[in-house]
Symmetry: D2
Subunit: 459 residues, 4 copies
């Protein structure tokens, strides 16, 4: 069984992310650190956190490495903790937006998520069980540390450098009964907003809604946003790296436009720079970023952190996957909390208290995302076949990206991306274009080609 | 300055409830306990709690009495703590539903609020500064104790004795960003309800609404109740002794009917018994309670706890002021949390998932509550004069109560109550009747009489 | 591998008492409790405690059972905790007097150690790995509780019922850098003694001496006792169930006399009653207990707790193994802390400030304890053979006990006990008599017989 | 009443250092910090600490300044905490070596004690009661922080830069039942020493001895040092800034020689530099420091911290009052804990495991310290008169210091210092010389002159 996925470790607590795995991961991490240093351990609000945290801590100290228990802390806060001087690594126990029956682990060093080589080391140790074992006199120690004040101070400093304190503008916040309950509402309040909260008592049963901040899970919240008197509404997932934005009419705003908004702002402030986004994002980002002198790089899903090890890493000033902005000037982690603060500030300052007004600065183009069947057996050859068949159908091709699926970009700003799922017998189709007409034509073509590729390979 | 009001101590933190008063109150309480025993100290979620708690604890231990710091805990939980074997008294630092700039203290022994004689002792010590001072070798000690589990176990036992677990019925809960945030939502969830929360991250700035769960403060919540899909909606004040109930149409339910609902249920279960309510409650309570074989006693506002020292105290099975039910079989404190659990259970079981249906079991009669001017100078003689003038106007008088205002009850179920305010130049008029017509006639008469009394006395 | 020994679980942390065993034990205990109730978890001061405690807690909550973390607490305090209303069981992580590289687990219910049938259940689950697994929504919770105040209050109540407060009599206390560091010195001080401590900062490295309070480990302390001005000196092991006593001349007092002292006192107060002691104790106990109207029962080592399940359990008023007194009127656990308090009180009250004077009330007879070789192969038949050969050698036999070795008691108060070791190729010989002459004669005979038995069986 | 003395604030808890003073000091400190920043608050082990700490914290947060509660922490650890980035000031509640009925406050900024101007500010606010009062929305917050790990890491780094790990050399440590109980023994153990502790369970009753580590209080410890097998014995006061050293023969070593030992070592390592000592220290320091290329500056008692504000402050590499070494390269605070580590290392490395051998490197000259009567009335003119009479009596005068008493230094290394007590009707006479003969002659002369001065002024 592969332990790490595209975003750390996740799975059901009975069948995969068990106390035994937690213990082994602790031992593996301590082995990685050679039984030295200190690891910060935080959690979201899930019911299985204490169970996993205790086993994980046991594993870490068994190698000689010390632990700082930072208790419940959002993912951004945990990541931020890993940049502190005495901290060798920080780990959050969370399954992010997964169902309550899941849990998982995410590892950070120096503010960024573990890269593949680091994950491979941990996975290797869990599999070969070649763990460091400290003798009785050098077992690690456990202390506790209230890191909330330092994260708040850093976040406030960053955000107030970019904008003013607000004057009682109303914001509705839905923190998914998760780790951000004690963070986003208070941070916004300290920034001068008048905050009403929904689903903001930490509860690992996720009683109010499922943790993923998708439109279908946010029905109640979107209705409250529409019926109430809020300039903007923010929703998180369970650990606070994700941000969803709903306008005052209760409409859910496309993630690509949120990324574009943040990216444009950071590039403008910096007078240029690179923006790194995942392959599944739309070309609206490129349009607004290039308009202010920046450039966009696309990388495979779950790979943003790898770019922080590349030679041009210092040029990156913003990065994002859908929902998950990385404000590089603040830190190299996904931060929905700072995202919430920034979007609220922008609504106040640039939107004059209207999210709708603010978002007018970012074009809205049609996009499409759908799944098509794709048997596991043909997956190894599927993308090459799709490329072979699809490329001749398009004129004006500017660029073809093949690191994670096949993405074809055209000179009219349209693009098509085909990826295969790692866990289901499906392929995923993403299309963006400036007009619905163009999008429909691309979609028709792509569906036909994908069916043909499937048929060809299934024979 | 009088320190205690009708409900413990309350006031602004800069002008009245200062660190110095907190220190003195701690010294007074330790003096009351003769420098022995242990005091539990809890708080609601106000910004000034740590300031006052620290000074208060200092004062207590300076007398030799020990302290258990129980941290943030609702009023019912703090009161419940005072019934534990090693606990001499428990105190919550809270200003209940007052504005965020206020704070206060409420004292409990053996589960009930301090009675007047106890308050008089504390007030006396604060004034004469005759405090016990422990020598260095007998200063009190401070420990901590997580009392949430024991309150939950007791509350669950009590509530599950009275009803079943629910099957995912949806409840909306608004805990006023106060002390009940970690209690009511979780208790309801453990009882099987599907809970959505609003204003339920603890925040002493009360960002979502003011702490008093009155219709004007609950506009957002009432709209959510109406537009959403909730069987019933519950709102608390800052410390969780108060409960307001909103039905699925978003209508705020009259407190008298909530009291009547609880009282009837407890009396029915017990096969009779006494219900004690404050003077300002309506006769609908008497109607439903007597129908199931119980009787109702009315006492001055802020005096329920005094009845627990009377000879017939063991006959009391339910007591209440508006908003604040005391489930005597559970404990002698006001408990909005258990109230929330019981009302939700009744909506599920008796209302078949409809609060409106449930409330049909309690008649809805017109009531009136209004203020009329009443200069401080005439107050000493005002009530006697009103009585003199008013009694002759009414036929069918059954009973006249004079302990707290003048209340005249008639044999058609109507009543009129006139009280004078302790803090403002006003008198308060309360009327209830079975028809609007009757009520209007009583109101006309009462207004005229009160004006005449005022005129007579002002000459 | 057998997990439980005669006194809970003990072993090296790398080879036996590992995080994995701790996790499994937690799961087994939660399974035993059917995923319900609450378990208190305490530790001594060892370096491996946090490692094991965290894994153990993870295992417990994974079954649905809750945990109260009581942190560092002596064995008696942990046992006492298990008698509290909401506590289903309490466990201390300790290896008692073993070396620092070891650790272990001891389980309590209702104040007494787990009996064999309970241990067999846990051992069975660890072996067949048939653990209860809670679903995500019913995983246990962890809270914390400072139990020191309640143990102190109970201990003070018990001890002050039996004696007065002292007047500054000096006592030297050596708590083995273990769990009793925060207990015995403070309890004695609250009882009015002037306490000087040695090796009383908690430190799992046991820097001052090894944890077993034997004469060879207590050389420094015995010298301090002799050279200083202390009425009596008390030494514990790592978890505080054991007590060793040193008089003002620095002489280590035989455990049998300490047991006799306590037993006599409790029997006298009670006006009779049964005393239960382990098979390896001397007849001086019988002598002093019968003189005050009590009777003595001998049971196998590690079995005192079994007697608390027998029909005559309510007759037991004191029980003890060497070093480990159980004051039954206080609780059914071994309590070196209360033992320290009682012996200090007796030195003050009956010894007039002299331990030597006090101990004159208990006769001092010669005893012998030695090991002789005994190959594992012959062990199964060795004791029967020794009995066959030894019994004819003695006149005046009053009683022969065969539950744990073979013990022959004679009417002159002498006795001989032969046991075989469970872990080494040895037999153990214990002899007591009223004169050295008698003891020497019994010893000569016993050594010859044991050699003969060995020779006969080895052929 | 003057609040600050030469070493912070100290006094009886009933008459001076009361909860009310603590509250006011907190308000004054927060006012000094303008209601901003964060204050660390630690305590020693006194019985009155919780009482004072709670009131003090209340006062601080009432101004808007935040608090980090660092719990029990020695003075050096608290001082070290004040150098951390987010910390504006740190305060320890301690009365150092005073009796248990006293307590007090010591304030630090950036690692050094508050200087006079800062103390004057605090004293002014307490007296004029002109405190900053935060509104309800800006009251300070309280968090907790386990600072032990960071102090340990810093101390270990510093000490291991200066010496090796030891190989089980035995050290006896007596931490006065005070704040260093959890520090010095563990630090030495981590440095490889085998540590036996006495009086090392924290207990504010100081049951083992009074907190001042003077020969008369250390009788037990000196006897243990003599009779036991310890290479060196270390004793602290209640808060760990003081260090007393006892050799393996149980002899108490003169403080001047300990200062000389440390000063010489630091100067040698640095290749020169200034050493600042208080006026009451002997010339042996000058002798050894100048021999390795350094120079010595003398300042009034209680004034070392003032020199860290002088232009030549960066030249200071070591500073000390008797008992209280400041290792400037480590930090600008008195640190008996690091002193204990360094002296132990030197005994191991330079003394080959013998304190006596080590101390041979520092000459031992006779010194004298005695009190003579000096009525308060004549104090204002006493020193001038003594100077007038005394100077003509001596030849070879090299220097006369007059900042704190009158100190005459001669070219044979002898000196005489006369000071008047601030609290008693006494003058103090200090003499040092290279031979007993010289010392006796100076003493005779000084006594005569002081008597004459007294007589002259009393007429």
């Amino acid at each position: 069984m592969k332990i790490f996925g595209t975003s750390g470790i996740r799975g059901g607590i009975v069948e995969k992310v068990t106390p035994n795995l937690a213990l082994d991961l602790g031992r593996a991490l301590g082995t990685f650190l050679e039984g030295k240093g200190t690891v910060g351990v935080g959690t979201d609000a899930r019911t299985s956190n204490e169970m996993l945290k205790n086993a994980f801590i046991s594993g870490i100290v068994s190698t000689g490495t010390d632990v700082v228990d930072i208790n419940r802390a959002p993912m951004p806060t945990t990541a931020s903790h890993s940049t502190m001087e005495i901290v060798s690594a920080s780990v959050i126990i969370t399954a992010s937006h997964n169902p309550p029956s899941d849990n998982g682990f995410k590892f950070f060093r120096g503010g960024r998520e573990f890269i593949r080589t680091e994950e491979v080391f941990l996975e290797g140790r869990v599999k070969d069980r070649n763990f460091r074992v400290a003798g009785w006199s050098s077992i690690g120690k456990v202390s506790t540390w209230d890191i909330r004040p330092s994260y708040f101070r850093r976040a406030l400093d960053f955000v107030l450098e970019r904008g003013e304190k607000a004057d009682e503008m109303r914001v509705l916040v839905d923190t998914a009964n998760g780790a951000a309950c004690d963070y986003t509402p208070h941070l916004l309040r300290e920034l001068g907003f008048r905050v009403t909260t929904v689903n903001s008592n930490p509860d690992g049963h996720f009683p109010g809604r499922l943790a993923e901040p998708s439109p279908s899970n946010l029905e109640d919240t979107m209705r409250m946003a529409r019926d109430g008197d809020f300039a903007v509404t923010i929703a998180h997932d369970g650990d606070g790296d994700r941000i969803a934005v709903i306008d005052e009419d209760g409409r859910f705003i496309d993630q690509n436009r949120i990324i574009a908004l943040f990216a444009k702002d950071e590039v403008e402030r910096n007078g240029g720079g690179r923006v790194v986004v995942s392959i599944d994002t739309s070309s609206v980002i490129d349009e607004v970023v290039s308009a202010v002198g920046g450039s966009v790089v696309r990388v495979p899903l779950g790979s943003l952190q790898e770019t922080f090890e590349l030679p041009w890493r210092d040029d990156i000033i913003f990065a994002s996957e859908p929902w998950k902005p990385i404000f590089v000037r603040f830190g190299r982690w996904m931060d929905g909390i700072v995202g919430a603060a920034r979007i609220s500030q922008m609504v106040a300052e640039r939107g004059n208290g209207s999210c709708i007004t603010l978002m007018k600065s970012i074009p809205e183009y049609p996009i499409l995302r759908e799944n098509v069947p794709c048997p596991d057996a043909i997956k190894p050859k599927f993308l090459a076949k799709v490329k072979e068949l699809l490329v001749p159908e398009f004129s004006g091709i500017e660029q073809i990206l093949e690191e994670d699926g096949i993405r074809i970009e055209r000179n009219d700003g349209s693009y098509v991306l085909v990826r295969v799922s790692g866990t289901e017998p499906k392929a995923r189709l993403y299309i963006g274009a400036k007009t619905q007409n163009t999008l429909d034509m691309i979609a028709d073509t792509a569906r036909i080609i994908m069916k043909q590729a499937r048929d060809d390979l299934s024979q």
